[in-house]
């Protein structure tokens, strides 16, 4: 159902290289490689370096993954350890839920 051209723009907000952040990034990369090969961009924002960016995406929790495109905007917080939830959150596997 997704267009081939559609690119997942993902932003991962972290605060320093904490264990949770590292886990989250590793998890995210793994899922993307598996399900969105060549259709994704991951931008990692370290709020310790750019604190002013927290306001724009209403970031409270760390780590937070924000999917801006495709719509709708979704935020996934936590270390992304639950693959199922992440994929649902990213609208990668909507079909599976309806089955």
């Amino acid at each position: 159902m997704e267009d081939k051209e559609e690119i997942w723009e993902l932003r991962l907000y972290v605060a320093g290289k904490t264990a949770k952040s590292v886990t989250a990034l590793t998890n995210l990369k793994r899922y993307c490689e598996e399900h969105l090969k060549d259709k994704y961009v991951i931008e990692v924002i370290d709020l310790l370096l750019q604190p002013q960016l927290a306001e724009g995406d209403q970031i409270l929790a760390i780590p937070t993954l924000v999917k801006k495109v495709p719509e709708p905007i979704r935020k996934i917080i936590g270390d992304l350890s639950n693959e199922e939830k992440v994929l649902v959150g990213l609208n990668i596997r909507p079909a599976k839920r309806t089955e």
Binding site: Y13, A15, K20, T23, A24, L47, L48, P51, Q52, A54, E55, Q58, I59, L60, A61, I62, P63, T64, P72, I73, R74, K75, I76, I77, G78, D79, L80, S81, N82, K85, V86, V88, G89
Partner: protein
Amino acid sequence: MNTKSSDSQTSLPYLRKSRTGIKGLDEITIGGFPQGRPTLICGSAGCGKTLFSIEFLVHGALEYGEPGVFVAFEEKTEELTVNVASLGFDLAQMQKDKLIKLDHIHIERSEIEETGEYDLNGLFIRLGHAIDSIGAKRVVLDTIESLFSGLNNEAIIRAELRRLFEWLKDRNVTTIITGEKGEGTLTRQGLEEYVSDCVILLDHRVENKISTRLLRIVKYRGSVHGTNEYPFLIDEDGISVLPVTSLTLSHDASSDRISSGIPALNKMLGGEGFFRGSSILVSGTAGTGKTSIAGSFANETCVNGERCIYFAFEESPRQIVRNMRSIGIDLQTHIDNELLMFHASRPTLNGLEMHLLAINKLIGQFKPTTVVVDPITNLITVGSVSEVKSVLIRLIDFLQSQGITVLFTALSLNDNISEQTDESVSSLVDAWLLVRDIEFNGERNRGLYVMKSRGMKHSNQVREFVISDNGLDLVDVFLGPDGVLTGSAREAQQLLEQTGVALRDHAVSRKDREIERKRMVLESKISGLKEEFESLQEELNKTFIEEDLKKEVYEKNRQEISRIRDNGKTTE
């Protein structure tokens, strides 16, 4: 910031405080909220939590040089700016001036999916950034409880909140956290668990359809504080907390005197009248002339070129002006000269606290030297006895601190001649005049007593209080053998006395005349006796003369005879 200046005085570590700048609150908390620690403000919806925190920030930024961060979890910053604009706070401008930073944290639950471990470092970073960007000393989190509805993992939130408050303490910012009141707890999510330094509870009660806002300090670690429920008001000037007392009784006492407007009354009060800055209560039953005394007092103030505010709770200003004119007191001129101000309102117009505020405000604007409240008894319709008393205490306190003389009138009911006024304010006031009906001889007359007058000699006698076309006067009552006489009985007695005097005068003059007559009689008798004596003397003299004459004649005759004899001899 004077908490800091006094810091050097003592080596003991003690709690520093941040002044809130909210009228009255700093007095209750003795200096403000604990500096560098979180304070919880809780209360039900619409009780003024947000406003309290905004005022805390704005005053901090404008008056105490402490910029502040406002983190809004519920309202958008634009909405907030508009909402407080009505109080004259220009948040937009203050944001530009870097005095205040507004940050809206919005948690859209539908957008959020939670998976695995996380923390709220994002919030910390945002807050930290906001604090650093303006060098904030004050932070408001309004209301952080939204986190609980936005996120699922309560265990994480609670752990993070605990960390957040510790972190805020470490950053040494004075924080206000607001919380919605919960069932049986101070806040819905038990925030009081984390904020243990200072907890303030706001309440909004509606009794008898009249609302009162109340504030109470539930706890304040490391500081003494007022523990009562203090009413507070929100109006166009923001929040004002009205402490029941200013916690101290330390106002100056003037020994200046101020005339009551009735010379005879002044005479009863040591000859000069009331003390300036004192409080006077005039109580009495209906129709005893309380308002007339009040009007006369107001008039006297204005005649002396001073200002007076007349708070009328029963009659309209025009009515009072007209009624006063009938006893020869012209208040209209004083109104025209802006010496007298009337403020008339029905007590039921608003709650007691609003009345108090209205009075406070007008006094602040008009700056009178005397104030008349006529009558305080009507306030009872909007509050309980103790509330009225509490309001009056604060009013008297406020007025005395300003050196304003106040005259209250109070209606006492006929069956309540225990000489206690309903509001039992008689113990608060400095001088208490009681106007009382004296029913005697088929008529009612007014008797005026000075029940008390602190700090001056005053007459203990009852005077008859007479209202005439020429104003008010006090007449000495007649103390006859039948007791105190007033009114026509007094006049009758006076007439009787005059008659007595006339009769006595008459009697005296009659006696005088009698004596005069007696004197005349006596004198005539004396002259009669004198004449008798003279005639006796004359008689006696006559005999003597006759005898002399006889003697003379006899001698002559004898000589003649002897001569004749001699001659005859020769002729013989």
